[in-house]
């Protein structure tokens, strides 16, 4: 289990092993802007500021290249350590389900 910290709010979201950034957000009741969820459209980018992530499923060549400048697709990027990501300036982390957030927190606390 890793912790995903999403800036600018600094919200901490637990990530299960193998879980993508977007999937972790959704499971914890949060959303950012996303598109195809399949690594193709390039809408759900975040900037990796700290930690390591990897792609375990196919993405476009463009997305592979953009890793060099710290840009990752949230729908495909899997944290392999605690990570800190910065959302796009025109995006924000939206809490769409407090129920899911509380459930995910409870599950996290029971594990640790």
């Amino acid at each position: 289990m890793h912790t995903l910290t999403a800036l600018p709010t600094g919200t901490e979201i637990p990530c299960l092993p193998g879980e993508t950034v977007l999937a972790a957000m959704v499971r914890s009741g949060f959303l950012i802007r996303f598109g195809c969820r399949r690594g193709g459209c390039g809408v759900c980018t975040v900037r990796l500021l700290d930690g390591s992530m990897r792609y375990e499923r196919p993405v476009t060549e463009t997305a592979l290249d953009e890793r060099a400048s710290g840009v990752w697709l949230a729908c495909r990027a899997v944290p392999v350590s605690d990570v800190t990501v910065q959302l796009r300036p025109d995006d924000r982390l939206r809490l769409v389900s407090p129920l899911l957030r509380n459930a995910a927190r409870a599950a996290y606390l029971s594990r640790t």
Binding site: R33, F34, G35, C36, R37, R38, G39, G40, C41, V43, P58, V59, T60, E61
Partner: protein, 304 residues
């Protein structure tokens, strides 16, 4: 008769094995052969060799193919496209596997459109003699045929004029900035036969794909497709719902590479003398998604 229909979509996919599973197993198209890095598919009710070409590497649209009725139609359209200012190129038989000679046109929207007059005839899955009403061996959705595609361009009005003047399409519906004669077009839905659209174009970047669609019989088949998408973990964009424009029933979803697909049913029969329907831009949400009446945030931003 001119241009008869959309014959094939040639799309790029990041992973051919995943794409083959999506189009073959979930959508239930029939695999029609492969060559290195490419796979061919057709719907069960299509008689030509293929209607979908998948090519590994990247995402988006490589090109679209429209079938014309007669070889001599090619000369007419080639001349008209050149006069319109497009770069055209003759293609030879077999340049596209199983496809006749034809004309390739670089559209003002920077998409590639190919016209051809013949493709290897393989027949539908129920044959042409005393046919059953559907084949029993279908997988998944079992999509019978490809239907249309929607692409983006920075000059919808120009493309509306291109399809009308060069390829004899007619505008069935448009989204306009006003009801005045000098209004700009935000989108146009154009037909070459009796479908409510054989191609649609909306305002956006040049050369991009919004979606390509497979035709289903009715609303209950659209729902059943949605059920299969849940079983197979297909990323669904929106639906089942209905479009105001075309009145078609729909689900938008994504293939495993992120190209948007649609299953589309219903819609009215169109004719060239049907008055073009105009939607004002303030009603765009209702036009696209008649039930929700607002665009979701992906409709205008997610393209490949």
């Amino acid at each position: 008769m001119g241009v008869m229909r959309l014959g094939y979509v040639h799309a790029k996919v990041t992973d051919l094995a995943e794409a083959k599973r999506h189009y073959g197993y979930t959508l239930g198209l029939k695999p029609m052969g492969e060559e290195p890095g490419r796979a061919f598919f057709k719907g069960w009710d299509e008689w030509d060799h293929h209607s979908l070409v998948l090519e590994e590497g990247g995402v988006g649209l490589t090109k679209m193919g429209y079938k014309v009725a007669r070889p001599e139609d090619l000369d007419v359209y080639e001349k008209r496209a050149a006069n319109f200012g497009c770069i055209t190129q003759r293609m030879s038989r077999g340049e596209n596997p199983e496809v006749s000679d034809g004309v390739r046109i670089l559209l003002p929207s920077e998409h590639v459109l190919e016209l051809y007059h013949d493709m290897t005839l393989v027949g539908t899955e129920v044959g042409s003699v005393n046919p059953e009403v559907f084949p029993r061996h279908l997988l998944g959705v079992g999509a019978p045929h490809i239907d249309h595609l929607l692409v983006t361009t920075d000059d919808v009005k120009l493309m509306d004029r291109f399809f009308k003047e060069v390829l004899d399409f007619y505008a069935v519906e448009r989204v306009c900035t006003s009801l005045e004669d000098d209004a700009d077009y935000i989108g146009t839905w154009m037909s070459t036969g009796m479908r409510p659209h054989d191609i649609a174009l909306i305002d956006g970047p040049q050369g991009k794909l919004h979606h390509f669609a497979f035709g289903l019989k009715d609303w209950s088949e659209v729902l059943r497709a949605g059920q299969l998408f849940s079983m197979d973990d297909v990323s669904v964009d929106i639906g089942p719902t209905q479009h105001g424009i075309t009145r078609g029933e729909t689900i938008y979803f994504f293939d495993p590479s992120g190209n948007r697909n649609e299953v589309f049913a219903g819609g009215y029969e169109a004719f060239p003398d049907r008055p073009t329907v105009t939607w004002t831009v303030d009603q765009l949400g209702k036009g696209i998604f008649y039930i929700d009446r607002e665009l979701n945030e992906r409709f205008t931003t997610v393209l490949t």
